[in-house]
Amino acid sequence: MSQVKLQESIVTSSRPAAAGQSAANASKKARQSRKGFYASGLYASRATSGVSSRKSGEEKGVWSKYPRLPNDQGGEDTPKPLLEDDKKVSYDTKETMESPLTEADLEADVDIEISETDTIWLLDIKPKLVNPETDGDLAELIKQRNEAYKALLADKVGNDKYVAREMNTLEATKMTKPCQTDEIGRSEFGNTASGWDMFDSFQAQLEKEKADRFEKKTDEELAKEAEQQQGDDPLEDNRRPLEPTSKSPAFVGRQSTTPSVLDSEFGTVRESVAMTAEEQAQLDAILTSPKLKQTLFIIERAVVQNNSQNLLATYRHLPIIELDKTGDSEAEASQALLVRQKSGASLSPHLAYLWRYSCPAVKGQAVTCMVWNKQNKDILAVSYGKHEYEPEMKNGLVCCWSVKNIQQPERVFRTKSGVTALSWSTQFSYLLAAGLFDGHVLIFDVRTGSQEPVFDSYLSPGRHFGPVRQLEWVRKEAGKHEETQEVLVSASSDGRVIQWSIRKGFEFKELMKLKRVTTVLPGPSQKQKQQKADALISRQASGSSMAFNPNDKNVYLVGTEDGNLHKCSCSYNEQYLESYFGHSSPVYSVKWSPFLTDVFISCAADWTINLWQADRTRPVTTMGSSTKSINSLSWSPKSSCIFACVNDGQLEVWNMAHSTLDPIITEPTDEDTGRYTHVLFSDNSDSLLVGDAQGNVQVFKLENMPSAPKNQAEALDRVIQLALKTELNASQTA
């Protein structure tokens, strides 16, 4: 091992030339010896060549690197580094390599030899040798001195003269040496986790735990769930709080970078870059998802409501807001409404036309029945078909309209033949029963909107053979072991009243067979009398209307095509409880009063409306104003003395407290609306709906109506008493 003595390399400033030479010699020697050696530190195998190419410190002019300290003698006093440059380990491997590293080199095995470093001599004072023969005096002197020194050393121990004392060495002058490393790469990352981010991730975790806890699940189901979760994952990126994706809430609104070319007025967006199959599938998934349908549905409602803001406000008894209009068109209807609202025009009750429910699908079909949903008073079911027989049977329709969308029906159900009766269930507010002209009874579930009825009576042996004229859902008091269930009762022209129950399948039970009863003159009512003079076609009467008593669910009224009304009970299926004679033609509609429990009203094709009391077989009073058959009538839900009826030519609103001779409002029909076929009051608004033979349902608002009497029952009672008195008087005087 070569020992390069430091003192050799320390060159005194006074003799640079000689020193340089000796240093050069030394370094040459060192170089030669070093070729086979690895110096201190670790060198890659390639580095040896680098070492050999190294020059010595002086030749390179190494001193220029350090701050120079020239002393006053003109020489250099710059402090030398501890290690020569040759010895230093270079961390900058680029300098040591002659050729750049290739991939292969990185893979190649590297031999590393670790060897002992060179010894660094810090102080080396050579002993001076004196020959006693040549320099005898000097030798004597030195011997004496050596002896004296020995004695001194011996004396030193324990001698008071000598005290151990510490000394501080002078502090060496320090010099800062700057060095530079490669720049440390820095990158900043930040993300915000909002409160709901955390909430979402916790929810997801909880659900996952719940799912894992279910042991009953098979592996298949678990795998399906995992798939679903994975499928959700790209969309769930929004919610993960710690993922630094561009979809996280902190990085929102990233602009689309691909330019897109749009198609025609209503077209797909064609990307200039062709979309991958995956992206296309994703798009399709969005476009066909049921959620999009639902959203479009709601938006359509919003759009229509925007347009018909004023009309709806009137319907709901809200004040009409006058908007600043930038367009020119102003609807006459809303303008008229505004004017009326402001001026409070005429004082007499009248109707204001609001809107009409009409769509191309129902054009040309007559409205046969209209019913409000029992739970949601904004939903109206309208049935379309024919009342009379026609040689070519058209298909029938049932549409569910809503106040919220006056342009488009929200549900449309098509049936094989015209629909003649409708009723909403109370227990299940989404079940709609429809009675058809061919005698069938269908029950639809409007939640799904599917065209298939939930129940139908096609296969039932008890189905009707004639058009179903009236349907009603009745809540039955149950036996001890049954819960109150709702049954559907249908009355039809074939003379039977049938009760259908939906608990198990579609069961039927015949409630009543309508038998013909001859019209009896005033006197004790008789039952089941055959008149020999008449040749009867059938002993059965055909029912044309029905109404259940709202207070007593066992009792119901049936109107027949003979003109007779019968009170029946569910408990008896052979006999009538009571018969009412007053009409001479088919009774189209019979309705109990919502305020007085034993008063009902009926209308018939004989141009009259009769008011009855349950215990009188003759009508209390008869009303009529035109020579047309009256097709339908409806009690006002707000006022006990007001009802509306429609005949072929006009709509009439009667107020019995005011007059039983004339209606208070008449609204004639025009050519394009055709004859009116059905009328219905609205429960939650002062409005009236009228259906006509062309398929339109018009909505009118009642204005300036007399306010409802404080005691409704009493008011109606008074009317009845008055009517009876006048009748008595009339009969007495006659």
């Binding site: 909430f199 602009q255 967006v269 969005i286 925007n306 347009n307 930038t326 609807a331």
Partner: protein
């Protein structure tokens, strides 16, 4: 098909200026605007606004979520129905006739 039908119906309503369906990336899938730059502008701005309002609603109560957003301005009304994977935007001008 039903989606297409409803789409066309909405466009046919009075006052409707345009309808856009945007996916969650901000790329318009369907648009009825002839001007593509307008579509892209609407997409970007409305999406930001919808995200912001959804943030606000959920910060107030994490159990809540935004279902519908309506912006009424002097000249028209923008209705936004946000969803997890898409955004439906309808622009309508006011007019009284239904």
């Amino acid at each position: 098909a039903e989606v297409e039908e409803t789409f066309k119906r909405i466009l046919a309503h009075k006052g409707v200026v345009g309808v856009i369906i945007v996916n969650f990336d901000g790329i318009p899938i369907r648009s009825s605007f002839a001007d593509s730059s307008l579509t892209v502008q609407y997409c970007a701005l409305i999406q930001q606004l919808a995200h912001k309002s959804r943030s606000a609603i959920r910060d107030l109560d994490p159990g809540n979520d935004l279902t519908f957003l309506r912006i009424r301005s002097k000249k028209n009304e923008i209705m936004v129905a946000p969803d997890k994977d898409y955004l439906l935007v309808v622009v309508q001008e006011p007019c009284d006739q239904p």
